[in-house]
């Protein structure tokens, strides 16, 4: 199961138009001590009244359905357990085959790569947490929903880069774009951009594994891809691919 890397915000915050809800306070069952003061402080800017109006019942269904219950985040899960088992077997093989000296060389090499990346991973987590708190998601949905044409694709791709969070927070936002009037091209550009050039994913996950040079290279090469995907989606829709009847 994939967990949001950092700054995961439960999507119900978007639906209630409450954008400054603490990240996972709700799902962890810890009452936020500060919600009231957020509301008071941001009464003018967050627009607690700017609830998204859902024209459609089907999308509303997919959006308001309680999100898959997010379990208390653990530091360990099945994916990691499998990798840990594989790693132990591989480490034992290296130890038996190449001896202790080489085993330690590999271990120290990997640990130092990991250690070098830690400050960046921490920075990525903090940036993700702050952007989630500071950027009202219904505002993002409005921006993307109301822009069309090539600008719409650019804006959607930009927000895909900017918005932190994992699948559980990103897909409902993408669904909200459709309801706010964005076309499939913009939604595709947004998701592809979040997947390929989103900075939290790159900083938190990719960097420790591959190192900075490789990740920057890959991301720079990927910059045009969200736009290309968005344009392809528009071509497919123009060629007759139906998707609106599910929304209307």
């Amino acid at each position: 199961m994939e967990k949001p890397p950092c700054g995961g915000q439960i999507p119900t915050a978007l639906l209630r138009g409450r954008s400054h809800q603490p990240l996972s306070g709700g799902s962890r069952g810890t009452p936020s001590p500060s919600l009231r003061s957020y509301r008071r402080r941001n009464a003018g800017s967050t627009g607690t009244r700017q609830t998204i109006r859902f024209e459609s019942t089907s999308v509303r269904g997919t959006l308001t359905k309680p999100p898959p219950q997010r379990r208390r985040r653990r530091a360990f899960d099945w994916s990691t357990a499998i990798i840990a088992a594989l790693a132990s077997a591989a480490a034992a093989t290296v130890y038996a085959r190449d001896g202790r000296q080489h085993f330690l060389e590999v271990l120290v090499g990997d640990l130092s790569l990991f250690g070098e990346m830690l400050p960046k991973v921490l920075a990525g987590c903090l940036i993700g947490a702050f952007v989630t708190l500071l950027l009202p998601r219904e505002m993002v949905a409005r921006w993307v929903g109301h822009e069309s044409g090539f600008t719409g694709l650019l804006i959607a791709a930009f927000f895909g880069f900017l918005l932190p969070g994992g699948p559980i927070t990103i897909y409902p936002v993408a669904g909200a774009f459709l309801v706010m009037g964005a076309d499939a091209g913009a939604v595709v550009a947004f998701i592809v951009s979040w997947t390929l050039i989103g900075y939290t994913r790159a900083l938190v996950w990719e960097l420790p594994f591959f190192g900075a040079d490789f990740v920057i290279w890959r991301m720079v090469a990927a910059i045009p891809l969200p736009i290309i995907a968005g344009l392809l989606a528009r071509i497919a829709v123009r060629a007759g691919f139906q998707y609106r009847d599910e929304i209307k």
Binding site: A89, E116, V121, V187, F209, A212, L225, V237
Partner: protein, 164 residues
């Protein structure tokens, strides 16, 4: 290079923290606490993945990887990597560990880029578990369809750009 990235990132953190602080102390505290908690909880998973992929790469004989995914494998290697990415189950630890292990044991960089791009864009389990329940299904299929050529484009663009 790595120092410059660190400075840049922490500048961004600083600016965001100042903005949050001007909106209220509570917001600042919340941001810091959430960010640090996420970091602490992610550490063991990333650590196991990074160290584990190093050992897996070391244990695999290079002779296995290079003919299929090595720099000489060309378009066929990219195609194999793309298919592998689409079929890889599991979360980021799995995908990135496999990519990193392949890279260290002799796979070509464009092939690894194709693998991780395919895995990120249309790993089948992810479409089914995450995307379909939260989005109109036809939009999901449209997105997966138009994403099909992207791993090839990513590998091609990366080669054009040249590794730094």
């Amino acid at each position: 290079m790595t120092l410059a990235i660190n400075i840049l990132l922490w500048l961004v953190v600083g600016v965001l923290a100042v903005i949050a602080a001007t909106r209220g102390r509570v917001l600042l505290d919340d941001g810091v606490r959430t960010g640090v908690m996420e970091f602490i909880l992610l550490l063991p998973r990333i650590g196991i993945g990074v160290v584990g992929s190093g050992f897996v790469a070391e244990a695999l004989p290079n002779a296995w990887i290079a003919p299929w995914l090595g720099p000489e494998s060309g378009l066929l290697g990219v195609a194999i990597a793309t298919l592998g990415g689409a079929l890889t189950p599991g979360g980021p630890v799995v995908g990135f560990s496999i990519g990193a292990a392949a890279l260290k044991s002799g796979a070509g960089a464009p092939q690894v880029i194709a693998y991780s791009t395919a895995w990120a864009l249309y790993a089948i389990h992810r479409l089914v578990i995450w995307e379909v329940p939260m989005m109109p299904a036809r939009v999901v299929w449209l997105r997966a369809l138009v994403s099909l050529p992207l791993p090839f484009l990513a590998a091609a663009l990366a080669m054009l750009l040249g590794r730094p």
